[in-house]
Subunit: 487 residues, 2 copies
């Protein structure tokens, strides 16, 4: 991102005006298009709003932009372009397509993090830099770096990675699979996307946990699916409810995230796993088992995935490197019946021609290396430590205003707020204080819940982050007593 | 892919039966699902069909599979699964979704290449291993290998790559762009996919060249678009036709591939570039300029892209590493007005959370390295040599039966066949002889055309490949005199 240069003798506002003029002349902001607001530009460029006002004035005087009250600042139609009235109506194009934009809260959080990287981040569902095995990967790639051929790859993914995933699944997840039943995808996200786009049709009903990561995905609505909520408690969903919901809604597929669920951190109990499989097979319903968190179990206890109990091939099992190593590898996988793998691999060719071989090679080597097991051990230890720090900070800062279950794995803690505050106001206030979280309503819950993700923040940020959050919450609740304890 | 072990004392058919039983028990082939045919399995496993027949017999006698005349071999419903009738109807799911499968010819070619990697490949639109700068990339990554953080990346792509692409566009394509107007995608393919999914709505008409790469993409039909053909000759499309076509069809967007077009190799003339821009701006129509081949110009002459003449921001310009370096990097880019970049970046988060940082880093370093320029030089020289070999072989083997223009860049040669033969028969016959090509009908042309891609085959394969093709063609045309010339 360009920023004005404070050592440049040219005044800041002139630098900004020149820069904007250049971007406009390149066609980035076509005639008639809206420029970012003064406030937003000021934030982006790290200057005072008054500087942006001066820069806009400069451009206005040159006839390059026009401002009208209430409708913002636009690129002038008369200055730019030979036949200016015929610039495509980009706004209409940007609103076209069946694909819905991200949820406003999530866009707001992304924007806030881009504007101020110093925010303490309890929102992003990823691991902090020190938890990712980057040194190990670098070393593994150093020895025998690259494939000898970099053409379009196999539609199902790089064969050595599929083999490595098959033996990983056998060893760590009790799942028997051959390479031909594995599809490599861009994280779990693309597996979910392919399922919603290629196996379901508009109008189909799908059952998802309440609350659930899947509510945060406009992808489901973009595919025209109807979402049916599966009630859940601290042991996960209640499988018996599926029968009556199916009668009412004709469910086509069940989506579950049984291990350390996003956002609640819940572990589906063994009894309910059995019951869920039974109900699903009785009704002939496929289950999508989205399982990115299982290996983060702090005790290292292996939980049987549904897929390991599946003998009729009714489970689509999805895994990912993102939460156990590095989201930036963008490597995930799906285990599915052959006809489904073939269908999805074929459609994916049309969308992106598959993943680059290079991260697939990194992933394969890492999975098969002696570094994998110690990495997992370290990851679990560190995540438990972060969870402890978070729990401690919440108890200290907000003893009477939060309620939560302590998660035994994963990276999320789900928190009910006792005082009633508006989600939106709390988020804005928290951003002002220097911390971000995700409001629970993003996951389909009523307001009054918060998801704190503790994988991303550094250990030493957790206490101060919660202190800032507590400040924000206190600021919004008059009646709410200030809590200050000596350490 | 598993293959039976010929050194194993266990008979091949028993090994195959065990292997299939295992895959069935893992749920890869659920109860009731269809197994591959005996012929196909025999090909895949590299055994005689009679061996597969024996293996099927074995499984049938165990009650694991059942064969019924005319409906193939299926996994038994009675042996597997406690409540077997309730396995999901995967066939129906696989047929669901709005996403159409690939064209049958392209699936057939892919299958043939997977079964017999020794086929001479005039079909795949990629570079041979010796043309990809793998050593250079390996070296560049060896010095300072990995990013210090591997989290979810910026929605528009890795910043250093966007900066490198911006300076590449300036230097090599005469396009002025800032990082914020660049979106990094999984090759050009994902740029095209995002445009069709997010900027256009079902029922919209789009104009594409006739013939065109875009006809080969069910992606357009999957998005519900109506395809309007733009007539073209050896100088590219006829821009004047757009006016009347627009009147008739209310065109929403124009797709062109102006440099060494896929499949025809045509270069859009300078006059027509100007005329196209004028018509489009007069009608207020956006143009998608899909430009993966321009840097392969054998003379190294820079052709002005449409985007470099664009002052009203009506061009979406797409580029890619695939045809100038390595398709397996899966790195492409789009330059577009800001509102469009933001819309597509946001939607892409839902689909796959973006590309891995690693190949983006490789691409950025390579673009900025001193290796880039010499690589381009070598690439052009080698591609021209391959083109010469192809032209020579066609003239020698089929002097009276093919007509073509000699391309001045790119990797494709478009060839009209004088004798009239069926596309499907010719392809099958060629596969039998050991060579593959793409029938022209895939690109929307009438039958009787062939696309020979000369980037993928090794130089020494080109002559023998065309000899095999000639044999296949001769075998199908009785009246057609056998040509044998002394070298
Ligand atoms: C339950 C669940 N599924 C899928 C994903 C997508 O992750 P990725 O595509 O990085 O594997 C996430 C990320 O937060 C998640 O929590
Ligand atoms: C004209 C054209 N556009 C786009 C593509 C897609 O290529 P990639 O996604 O590898 O950049 C191709 C590949 O053959 C092509 O020929």
């Amino acid at each position: 991102m360009w920023k004005p240069d404070r050592h440049n003798p040219k005044p800041l506002y002139e630098q900004i005006a020149d820069h904007l003029e250049q971007r406009i002349s390149y066609g980035e902001f076509p005639p008639g298009s809206l420029l970012p607001s003064e406030r937003k530009l000021a934030e982006q460029l790290g200057v005072n709003r008054s500087t942006v006002i001066l820069a806009f004035g400069e451009l206005r005087s040159m006839g390059i932009i026009e401002s009208r009250p209430g409708s913002g600042t636009r690129v002038s139609k008369f200055k730019w372009g030979a036949v200016p009235k015929h610039t495509p109506n980009w706004k209409r194009y940007a609103e076209g397509g069946s694909f819905l934009p991200n949820l406003p809260f999530l866009r707001r959080i992304r924007e806030a993090l881009q504007q101020n990287p110093a925010l303490i981040d309890f929102a992003s569902g990823e691991l902090s830099a020190d938890l990712a095995p980057i040194e190990e990967m670098t070393e593994l790639m150093g020895t025998n770096p690259y494939p000898s051929y970099l053409g379009y790859g196999h539609p199902q993914g790089y064969m050595p990675l599929r083999q490595a995933v098959a033996s990983y699944l056998d060893r760590y997840r009790g799942i028997q699979a051959t390479e031909s039943s594995i599809l490599i995808t861009s994280g779990s996200q693309q597996s979910l996307y392919l399922i919603t786009q290629c196996l379901l049709s508009p109008g189909d009903a799908v059952a998802i946990e309440d609350p659930s990561y899947h509510y945060s995905l406009p992808m489901f609505q973009s595919a025209g699916l109807r979402l049916v909520r599966l009630p859940a408690d601290e042991e996960g969903i209640l499988p018996e409810e599926i029968r009556s919901l199916h009668k009412k809604h004709r469910i086509k597929m069940i989506f579950v995230n049984p291990n350390f669920q996003n956002p609640t951190g819940t572990l589906l109990s063994d009894d309910r796993r059995g019951a869920l499989l039974e109900v699903a097979s009785e009704l002939g319903l496929p289950i999508v088992e989205d399982d990115p968190y299982s290996l983060t179990d702090y005790e290292g206890i292996p939980r049987s995935p549904l897929k390991s109990m599946d003998r009729v091939g009714s489970i689509l099992h999805i895994g990912s490197f993102s939460k156990m190593a590095a989201a930036g590898l963008r490597v995930g996988w799906m285990v599915a019946p052959h006809s489904i793998v073939e269908r999805l691999a074929d459609a994916r060719q049309q969308m992106d021609f598959g993943l680059s071989v290079i991260p697939q090679q990194v992933a394969a080597r890492f999975l098969e290396s002696p570094y994998f097991e110690p990495h997992l051990h370290r990851l679990r230890t560190q995540l438990r430590r972060k969870r402890d720090l978070l729990v401690e900070a919440l108890q200290q800062e907000l003893p009477d205003s939060v309620r939560f279950h302590v998660p035994q794995g994963g990276i999320h803690l789900w928190c009910r707020l006792v005082p009633s505050v508006s989600d939106a106001k709390l988020l804005e206030e928290a951003i002002k204080k220097g911390v971000v979280f995700v409001p629970g309503s993003v996951y389909g819950s009523d307001s009054g819940y918060v998801r704190f993700t503790f994988g991303r923040a550094k250990a030493e940020e957790i206490g101060p982050g919660i202190a800032k959050f507590a400040e924000a919450l206190r600021g919004l609740t008059d009646s709410f007593p200030t809590v200050k304890k000596a350490k």
